[in-house]
């Protein structure tokens, strides 16, 4: 809260700009790359590893405590993400999918944890790295399972069309599968987190400005609206964070699945 008021221009209310919210100074002066999102990303990796370690280091047949909670997440990923898209290959890919789901979920949920309050995925570099990993894996698996020529042939020339149409559609198929699909995979997560963080920052700033900085009889109701909207949108935002983590893992499973089996 106090960080936001320092950024506002003196005297009048100004909505927070992306530059103020997302361009953060390095934590240690002089080490340019070590900013808050990097610290949070490292922290969430350690957290995910720690939670899974605590849960499955010595698994019991009758789960209790931490193992119960993490098994719930594991079952969710297996039944909702892996099995519908990978079928009988689901168990081989569970490690990757569970890691992706939990990592993205923790990244996102850090956006509503009071002191930390920064969704890591709202810097596009982080989703891009995850999406690029899946992209490379997708091409590798496609070439391995369908052959170098067969993979591109299945992708660009689906059977059952007249010849001249292939000439028109092949560039669309290639561009959509090779460039646009991984791009939207990363951008979908990034854009949701970016917009959600800006929305929360805007409404909490409205509340803070009109109730604490410049308390006037006319401005107070607006401030109350700002606070109420902040609370409601935090709830919505937590739902969206969970949904985006699910979608990211689901699309990863979908790309892997489409490389393993040639469709139709």
């Amino acid at each position: 809260m106090s960080a936001l008021t320092v950024l506002a221009p003196p005297g009048e209310f100004g909505a927070p700009t992306p530059d103020e919210l997302f361009t953060l100074p390095p934590i240690i002066p002089g080490v340019e790359w070590f900013t808050k999102p990097v610290l949070l990303a490292l922290f969430s990796s350690v957290l995910v590893i720690g939670i899974c370690w605590a849960a499955f280091a010595s698994p019991k047949l009758v789960p209790r405590g931490m193992q119960n909670v993490v098994e719930l997440g594991y079952m969710f990923v297996r039944d909702q993400v892996a099995r519908p898209f990978l079928g009988k290959d689901a168990d081989r890919w569970m490690g990757l999918l569970v890691s992706i789901f939990f990592l993205v979920l923790v990244w996102n949920l850090l956006g509503v944890v009071p002191v930390l309050q920064f969704p890591v995925a709202s810097h596009i570099a982080f989703p891009i790295v995850l999406a690029a990993t899946i992209y490379i894996l997708k091409i590798y698996l496609g070439i391995k399972h369908q052959g170098g020529i067969g993979y591109f042939k299945n992708m660009m020339f689906p059977p059952g069309l007249p010849k001249p149409i292939y000439f028109l559609l092949a560039p669309i198929e290639f561009l959509s599968n090779m460039i646009i699909a991984p791009f939207t995979h990363a951008v979908r997560l990034f854009a949701n987190m970016f917009a959600g963080h800006m929305l929360l920052a805007f409404f909490s700033m409205v509340g803070f400005w009109f109730l604490f900085e410049k308390l006037t009889p006319l401005g107070a109701p607006i401030g109350v609206i700002g606070v109420v909207m902040t609370i409601l949108l935090t709830g919505l935002e937590m739902f969206i964070m969970y949904l985006q983590a699910f979608l990211f893992a689901m699309l990863a499973a979908m790309y892997i699945g489409s490389s393993l089996h040639a469709d139709h």
């Binding site: 079928g87 559609l169 959509s176 939207t184």
Partner: protein
Amino acid sequence: MSQQERRPETDGRDFSDAMWSVPSYLLAGMAVYGGLGWLLDRWLDMSAFFPIGIVLGVSLAGYAVYRRHGR
């Protein structure tokens, strides 16, 4: 059962596969044919081919999705 046999174990996969690939197909169609139109516009110093290319690309991409996933 209708003429199209249901396969419950792959229904979900096929359907979400189709739905999630629609936006990237449409964007790719617009990029390819809109880009061609834009290049033509620059070459001939006109401004008609870019919108035509966009609309053509969207229609072709829609056709591609429909043929690939819709049957």
